[in-house]
Assembly symmetry: C2
């Protein structure tokens, strides 16, 4: 029996990360592969109290269907979170989604006809690329430097392509590069989107996890015409297992997201929404985020130092000022997928970088996560990885 699938299924690939995660669940593996928060920092005891409170007070509401747009007290709390990134919205501008991943899927569902163009950073988040692929877009990658997309390249792409539907950006501690856009580029991005009448999808899971300096205004802060769609999530500042994120957008646009949500899964979990709202009411999440930042900063520092000491000097990597990732660039002749196989033999995992480029290439790159492993494992893992890198470079050079 061979069933006939839709054409779009030819484009969708299994996420390399999700597949890797299965391998890396072996406890002996030191994994820099996932984008997993540190589980030892989850507020488990607080969550237990919050759940008991929700069930005692509103048990039958918590277990029942709720509105598609989401639980109002949670949307009110999200308004406060949006203020942290300098965005002024009301609860009516918010739709709750199942993680920000669902916001990515909906963005393409709403805007993309087959053959339409999505402009994205090069590299970009592979989970977004995979979600978008289901709607058969073409990707145009825009080169980036330490301040964000190169604006001349972006304008050229906008000027020369009629069917660009949106620009997808992760301006803060980008996944996978760890880099952050300057405020000038953020402003200019909105100007260009206005000029060429395209939407901007701003994916911001890490903005509040800044270890150095001040939190920057989101791109949406500079939005003058309601064309920036902001995707937020509790996965990185709270817990990912709950699958609660949100979309903040202008009412006309948000209405489309609401329609997509109705069809996709009716609504996100009522009880999870109520629990998070209750947590935000009962506890100080700022304090919790401070704790995360202290630990993640320490791990970043340790990984940076270990990489400097253990990696061959030809290997370059970014210095993230927040978030979860650093991005490693090997000499051009090296292949990170081959290195990944050798590293796994030493029980060390990372994600080869090629998958983060929708149009391929760049096989000499990889992404390394520092939030999920403890200090000892970071040092040991980078040491082993350094050894694999040196051996491979030495082999390549003598062949």
């Amino acid at each position: 029996m061979t069933l006939n699938y839709a054409n779009r299924m030819d484009n969708i690939r299994a996420s390399e990360i999700r597949e890797l995660l299965k391998l890396t669940q072996r406890p002996e593996v030191i994994s820099f592969a996932g984008g997993l928060p540190a589980p030892e920092l989850f507020p488990v005891e607080e969550y237990k109290k919050v759940t008991a409170e929700v069930l005692d007070k509103d048990g039958t509401i918590a277990l029942q269907y709720g509105p598609t747009e989401g639980y109002l007290p949670l949307r009110e709390q999200i308004v406060k979170r949006m203020a942290k990134v300098h965005v002024n919205v009301t609860p009516d501008d918010i739709l709750i989604t199942s993680g920000s991943q669902q916001g990515l899927d909906f963005s393409a569902k709403i805007f993309i006809n087959p053959g339409d163009i999505i402009l994205c950073e090069s590299p970009s988040y592979l989970g977004a690329i995979n979600a978008f692929r289901a709607y058969e877009p073409n990707f145009l990658e825009i080169d980036t430097d330490d301040e964000g997309m190169i604006m001349e390249d972006l304008e050229e792409a906008l000027a020369n392509n009629e069917n660009v539907k949106f620009i997808y950006v992760i301006p803060d501690f980008q996944n996978p590069s760890g880099r952050t856009w300057s405020t000038e580029r953020r402003k200019r991005l909105v100007e260009l989107a206005n000029k060429y009448n395209v939407a901007i999808v701003e994916d911001n899971p890490y903005g509040e996890l800044r270890f150095e300096g001040e939190i920057l205004p989101a791109v949406k802060h500079y939005d003058t015409e309601g064309r920036v769609i902001f995707l937020g999530t509790f996965s990185k500042i709270f817990c990912p297992g709950l699958r609660v994120g949100w979309v903040a957008a202008e009412k006309g646009v948000l209405n489309k997201f609401n329609l997509a949500k109705q069809g996709a899964d009716l609504q996100s979990s009522t009880i999870s929404q109520m629990e998070i709202a209750k947590f935000l009411e009962m506890y100080d999440i700022e304090e919790h985020i401070e704790k995360l930042k202290v630990v993640y900063k320490k791990r970043r520092d340790l990984m940076m130092k270990a990489m400097e000491e253990e990696f061959p000097k030809e290997v370059k990597f970014t210095y993230p000022k927040g978030g979860l990732f650093t991005w490693v660039v090997l000499p051009e002749h090296m292949n990170a997928r081959e290195i990944a196989v050798k590293a796994l033999e030493q029980n060390v995992a990372f994600v080869p970088g090629g998958s983060f480029f929708p149009n391929g290439g760049h096989e000499n790159t990889f992404r390394a996560n520092y939030s999920n492993m403890n200090e000892e494992r970071i040092v040991e893992g980078i040491k082993r990885l350094g050894k694999v890198l040196k051996e491979t470079m030495y082999l390549k050079e003598t062949v």
Copy 2:
């Protein structure tokens, strides 16, 4: 500013039920509109214990990312539920989804190119129709009687249309009609799907909520070639607010669903999956389902009796042997949308039937739910509704 949306957005309509639900949240409204379980039967105390147990024992796992396919102990429990409808599967044949609604969305995402045909019962579940519409299918409605689709009509549709991708059916206590397929039709459905090489999407949220007679084997029980995709959910036998459902399908097909899931939202809530698995381990869900059946049966009996007494004799309605709904057919000249407005003035709500027909028409029908209102309100609501119906019929006749 006017952004350019994808063509598919022209097809998607707001769910009439979801919009109605907002109106019917006023406490004075007697609502037969939603498909909501009785909240007073939710096992709130048990759920509290289950949650505490999960957080005490596996708190950090419960709040962390988990695998896309879902939590293994839950999938093992679902294997047992599938046995209840006479389907023999392994945990590897199961993918956890965010309610069965997500399984509907994925079914169309996986199979439908614009213009492909979905065969469905006439009427069919409007949430499915809306989910499917996003992928721009054409719908062919197949007439049904008290035993399911008319098989001659189904075969004619299959024989005369090349691009049929799947047949969508709700064989048990159908939403909206309340009717149930005979075993003969189930077998014949599979034979025809085999003959014409199409998939079957079997949506089965109510199969275990049978008040009379024995649970029938699911269509998937008769599946000889792995072409039946079974969608199940805990929404109706447990609690809908958790948004946990599943897809059971042959491995090749399930792999496509897994890819769709990765892109759509990575995975369903880890903690909700663990809580349900723990509930199934700690408590007897059969006992819980028995409780539901006693209450729902009583409410159905009461609604049937009240309709017989209060509705004009020209009004026909189905007698459901399980599930949540009865289906009301008014005389041809009457319009249920007009009646709905008048009924709402009397604080009574139902869903006009037209939306359940993807190709329109049948405005003289409506769906009435009996699971969500208590006995007193059912009697009072049907009484008021009977009065509105009589007044409208009388007016129409004298105009």
